[in-house]
């Protein structure tokens, strides 16, 4: 690059506007401000409030040190929540993202006709308001009037017409199905956009070399899209740990904590039970857990740099 051979500090007389450090900083500023205001400051506040006994209505706070944290470690429900969140993460990372990639690849390469139709169909659930999705599926799952059970009874599979959201065995899988239905489209569209940037000659060269569709997908395109996959997995991990809306709307974390997630439990404890101190401890715990998982994930995935095209 031109400036490398200059002696002294880099001066802001680079040829391009975006080479100048001040400009770069300016572009970074919105992200930094947003990060601090909506992520760093609340996270730090939560950690601070977790050291208090506080009802959350703005009144007296009583310093109790690590009491809330002791309670957190000993609370069996927390670990149930952690387990459920981990199940969500595993489902998202090892099932949802790969499935989305496969679908995106197939739609891009094999089912080229009607591609935009697919894109719309897959993305539609993503843009529906989450409360609409939750209520819709609650009615689909209704034991007596829901279309799922009616269909099962209609085809003679009466024993399968279970109370999906009412049984502690089926509630979590039922809710996960809805989450998959809702968000997979997002990853599909993300991947479709990335796959579209792969130049056609790569495919031509590979096909000439005798590569079939599977090899094209797994051996050539997937490594090229690694950074995008990394982003997708990060999103999957973070949103799985943070998940609140669908679980709370459909089952309120029940029955008997069968679908309780860290966020729903936090809500029940912090807001509904007027115990914001303990709620803040759970919130901070959630943040640290997310941080840990994302760092592990970057360790495992971030080192591959096969992009630059």
């Amino acid at each position: 690059m031109t400036n490398v051979n200059q002696s002294g500090p880099v001066r802001s007389t680079g040829r391009r506007l975006w080479d100048r450090p001040h400009v770069v900083l300016l572009f970074l500023l919105p992200a930094v401000i947003m990060s601090v205001m909506f992520i760093a400051y609340p996270a730090a506040s939560s950690a601070y409030y977790s050291l208090f006994e506080w009802q959350g209505l703005g009144g007296s706070r009583q310093f109790v040190g690590l009491d809330n944290w002791h309670r957190l470690v000993e609370d069996p429900i927390i670990w149930v929540c952690v387990w459920h969140n981990i199940v969500l993460v595993i489902t998202a990372v090892f099932f949802q993202v790969p499935a989305a990639f496969v679908i995106a690849f197939l739609v891009a390469r094999a089912f080229v006709i009607g591609r935009s139709g697919y894109r719309v169909a897959y993305f539609l659930p993503v843009i529906l308001t989450v409360s609409v999705v939750g209520v819709l599926w609650t009615w689909i799952y209704h034991p007596q009037f829901g279309i799922l059970n009616e269909a099962l009874r209609g085809t003679g599979l009466d024993e399968l017409a279970l109370p999906w959201l009412g049984s502690s065995k089926t509630a979590l899988p039922a809710v996960i199905v809805v989450m998959l239905w809702r968000f997979t489209g997002f990853y599909i569209v993300l991947f479709m956009a990335a796959i579209a940037r792969v130049p056609e000659d790569i495919y031509d060269a590979a096909t000439v070399d005798g590569a079939n569709l599977w090899q094209l997908g797994a051996r050539i395109v997937a490594p090229m899209l690694w950074q995008v996959i990394l982003v997708a997995v990060t999103i999957a991990v973070v949103s799985s740990i943070k998940r609140f809306d669908l679980a709370y709307i459909m089952t309120a974390g029940g029955p008997v904590h069968a679908t309780e997630l860290l966020a729903t439990y936090l809500f029940k404890v912090g807001i509904l039970s007027f115990n914001m101190g303990y709620g803040s401890a759970i919130a901070t715990f959630l943040f640290l857990l997310t941080l840990a998982l994302v760092m592990i994930q970057f360790r495992g995935m971030g080192s591959q740099q096969i992009s630059e095209f």
Partner: protein
Amino acid sequence: MRVNRIVLVIATLMLVLSVVVGGCGPTATPAPAELTEAPPAEPTKAPEATATPEPAAAEAEVTITFWHLYTEAMAGANSWFKDMVAEFEKENPNIHVEMETFGSDPYKTKLPTALAAGEAADAIHNMAGNYLLPNVEEGALEPMDRYLDEGGWRDQFVPYTFDQTTFDGVTYCLPFSLRTVHIWYNKDVFSEYNLTPPETFEELLEIADTLKANGVTPFALGMKMAWQAWFWQCYLFERVAGYDAWLNAKNNTGNGWQDPGLIEALGIMQDMAEKGYFTEGTLGLDPMDVNTSFFDGEAAMILNGTFFVDQVKSLAPEGFLENKLGYFNFPIIEGGKGNPKIQHGGVGASYCINAASPHKDEVAKFYRFLFTPEHMKDLSARTNWVMSMKDSLPEDASPLLKSLAKEVEEMETYVWYMDYTVFPEAYMTFEPVLQALVDGSITPEEAAAKMQEAVD
């Protein structure tokens, strides 16, 4: 240069990531002032009336915001409030009331969130009993004694109704509705199988068996939110162990929540669940959702509070309220210590003044307008509800209302709603315990132990 380009890429990625992550999932680490997520109203409830919760501070013009729970699902009360607001505004041209309605369960989330964020309305509907304690301790509610002592307003209320809104001698809220919980039944279904209201609990179970044998769900019950199931448990507790045992539990004295009577009561409920007396899949059903099965005749009975009557009027098919709705009191258990003159219920709702409101006197004026015997009679006539004010029974009351009012008059005392008896934090633990009991995953002894643990 390579370095700057990488920086640029990372910056863009961060920006995109922060927007995307913020957009495709909810905000998880809620700082106390920041929570924006609130569950929506359920499908059977009407949408909220649009209103802005910002009290305008014009010179003589005052706008007060008012929240209550009587959506179009309770058309009688809803229309009453609308009419009252209109009349009040006519009589007081400088006061404007902006009303907003919510569903009952969403409201239990909305109110604490709003109070915590300082966004609650000036005049707020609230629960009663110990449910109010966190609000009271935080000073979120304005004491109303000075208003009540003016002009003998206090004496217009039935005295014991203040028990559930007074703490440490200070009255914080105005008791509104006076509820009793009864078993409502579909007269058509009963006559179809030649059934009559039972005198004892054993007879009730026989009726349930007959119904079950004929493919009718005996009792409609939705347990996604546990309050409807607690009606059962509170009655069973009283009927088995007697009022004093309940009082001990409430005050955490004596045997508290591990009273053998309670354990027996829990066991009875577990048996009933096992025998399939309740709606199938009850644990996943919202209490409001099971109403339909009752109106359709798929379920013959439902244990519900008297607020149900206005729901029947609004949601049931034409003529159901007049012709098909019957009720009987929860029967006694033979050999139990219960008193048939003791009901379950009490003050159902109350109205409070937000302590942070700049228009407390205007709100008090509004309440004074609402809480008069004359207006209460009007409400009573529209809804068939019994209210907490004296002389609030309309002259042309329907037979149903007269009957319900008589129940209230004759009852000796009452067992409070469960979520008014124990503090919210304990109640949060009670809920899954009852669900687990009905699920069959814990024994009654374990359930009672957990309940006791939650209260300690």
